[in-house]
Amino acid sequence: MTSTETPLVRVLEADGRYAPSAAAEQYLPLIDALSDAELEQFYRDMVVIRAIDTQATNLQRQGQLALWPPSRGQEAAQVGSAYAARRQDTLFPSYREHAVTRIRGVDPVDILSVMRGNTHGGWNPLDPKNGNTRIYTLVLGSQTLHAAGFGMGLVFDGKTGTGDVERDEAVVVYYGDGASSQGDVHEAMVFAASYNAPVLFFLQNNHWAISVPVETQTKVPLVTRGAGYGIPSVRVDGNDVLASYAVSRAQLDEARSGGGPRAIEAVTYRMGAHTTSDDPTKYRGSDEEQSWAQRDPIARMRAFLEGRGAAASVFDDVETEAADAAEDLRARTVALTAPGRELMFDHVYSEPHPLIDEQKAWLEQYEASFEGGANR
């Protein structure tokens, strides 16, 4: 099967026209049910997160962050799937899901805090304000197993499949085309399928694993991988926020209702670098980048909203909000101070540990020995 033969769920054409593909028909009622306010919110989030992303990239360039993985281009896949998740769902992001985390309530400065070198975590996933969003992990694919295990726990606890979609819980795990080659993703799909765990495997195929093209990861469309595990899978235009939302909502509700794991391949494009450490001009051509720029998810949604008669003030408001959010993020990021040295020792273990306690005490004593002496 070639990629052109694989059905693709698309609702909006690249120019913003509402022109659902054949595969999209069954999802249209979910889109029809969206209010104008919700549609505008999708757009608003995409614009704001892009402004935040651009700001973070700039902050890295100015030495304020050690690293930044840009999400530019992937806003629709992320915003659509994040709004598709219900309040009670648990999300396992990788390290580029800036839009997802923000929508769930995570303060973007908590992500920048990781990238600045202040913490390895950033936020407490058990704090309700963070919307059941687990912290980022930089090891590719590891989190898919954690999501499968969490989903198994939901099954064992009877928190899923009761028939009440407002209460039944599900899990969304994000990973990319590069991570799809990792053994852990395979094992996660085996476990999730074996235990009928309510896990949505949300793969963002952004076409590049740093400098390695997706063709090196797979000879078949990644969406076809799910079939081998008995996992119903759908391929969606990841630059179409409406398609991403509708398919994710439908798949998640199937999973939470006892249908077992589901998978989505969102076909999208990383418009920027993998991280601020690499240079895309070394491994891909400008023709390719320009062709994807024509499919920009934000421009597409804006054209759609304009076609529906959205007022110009809506777009002006969004621009203002985005600029304010970016400016606020900059101010709070540069104000972040280094953590106290006790952070290193206090949470290696949950219970007291003599070696760590001794070393912490030694460091305190050592540092104290300089007081009044060396200028520290």
Partner: protein
């Protein structure tokens, strides 16, 4: 006092059963641990009595076992994973060292990882490649993990329960050659601290230190030495991370000499760590350098050569003689 005389495999089985009864959030997971009862029968009948949601016969995937255990712990469970053999823990190594060990730290204490990973380890059973290795140093070297190894059925019964009660991840190394010899288990005692080393034989001339199956070999060596007029004290380390140095240092301060023995390769091993610490903290008590007896720095050999590779009583006694010669 309720004493039962059982092999370590039965003691572990009883300890796991007790843990499953005491806490409904405890679950066991691993390959073939269900109706078969595990390849060493440590989980025998537990699947029958607790069902397949408490005793999970998992797909054959070690990274999957540990990785999903992490997710289950996040969902509030207390998973006990069985890795079938020591040499098969490495497919799970990334999940153990990069994920499990660091999870509490990365969450700045907001999250605990009450997971036990049981690994049958070590030689003496004549097994084939990957079925007898001593990987303890990899885990003891990793911050965030706790590593323990019982040497007797009584310790096995109590330590497995204490490991499951711990809110930190515990690598639980079961010396597989000790699965079958019987020993007394005191069911009415209270559990000893998990991370305590213990003097298991009193002596005055040389301190012998080791863990797991090597404790039996050290006791054999001590018995032979006694016949030759040398009095050896034997310390069972029990906890490889953190090491409880108290009884080791007390013993060395009284004997002035120490020999450490382990099955694992010597280079960068536990013996080197303990020797360095004893030297740092009891230097003026030492009458001789701390000596180490270990497996060679080779891959664990084919079974027909394991008798050459593994430290035996003679190799330990040779080190005792060298120590006494100073």
């Amino acid at each position: 006092m309720t004493i039962e005389t059982v092999p370590m495999s039965k003691a572990l089985n009883a300890g796991l059963r007790k843990a499953l009864e005491d806490d409904p959030r405890v679950l066991l997971m691993g390959e073939d641990i269900g109706p078969l009862g595990g390849v060493f029968r440590v989980t025998e009948h537990l699947h029958r009595d607790f069902g397949s949601q408490r005793v999970l016969d998992t797909p054959l995937a070690e990274s999957g076992i540990v990785g999903t255990a992490i997710g289950l712990a996040m969902a509030g469970f207390r998973p006990v994973c069985e890795i079938q053999f020591d040499g098969f823990v490495f497919p799970a190594f990334d999940q153990i060292t990069s994920q499990l060990a660091k999870m509490t730290n990365r969450h700045e204490g907001a999250l605990s990882m009450p997971i036990v990973i049981r690994i049958p380890y070590g030689g003496h059973i004549g097994a084939v490649e990957h079925h007898q290795e001593s990987p303890e140093t990899y885990f003891a070297h990793t911050p965030g993990l706790r590593v323990v190894s019982p040497s007797t059925p009584n310790d096995a019964y109590w330590m497995i329960q204490e490991a499951i009660r711990s809110n930190d991840p515990v690598i639980f190394l079961e010396p597989k050659s000790r699965y079958w010899p019987k020993g007394e288990v005191d069911l009415s005692a209270s559990a000893a601290p998990l991370h305590a080393s213990r003097i298991v034989r009193r002596g005055s001339d040389v301190t012998l230190v080791g863990h797991g199956a090597m404790v039996t070999t050290l006791l054999q060596a001590a018995a032979i030495a006694e016949g030759e007029g040398t009095s050896c004290e034997v310390v069972d380390v029990r906890s490889l991370s953190p090491v409880d140095y108290g009884p080791i240092l007390d013993s060395v301060r009284s004997t002035g000499r120490m020999v450490h023995a382990q099955e694992a390769p010597g280079f960068n091993g536990l013996g080197g760590e303990i020797a360095a610490t004893v030297m740092e903290r009891a230097f003026y008590s030492l009458e001789a350098p701390v000596l180490r007896v270990s497996g060679f720095d080779t891959p664990f050999p084919p079974a027909k050569l394991e008798g050459v590779y593994l430290p035996d009583a003679d190799r330990i006694l040779e080190a005792v003689d060298r120590s006494l010669a100073y």
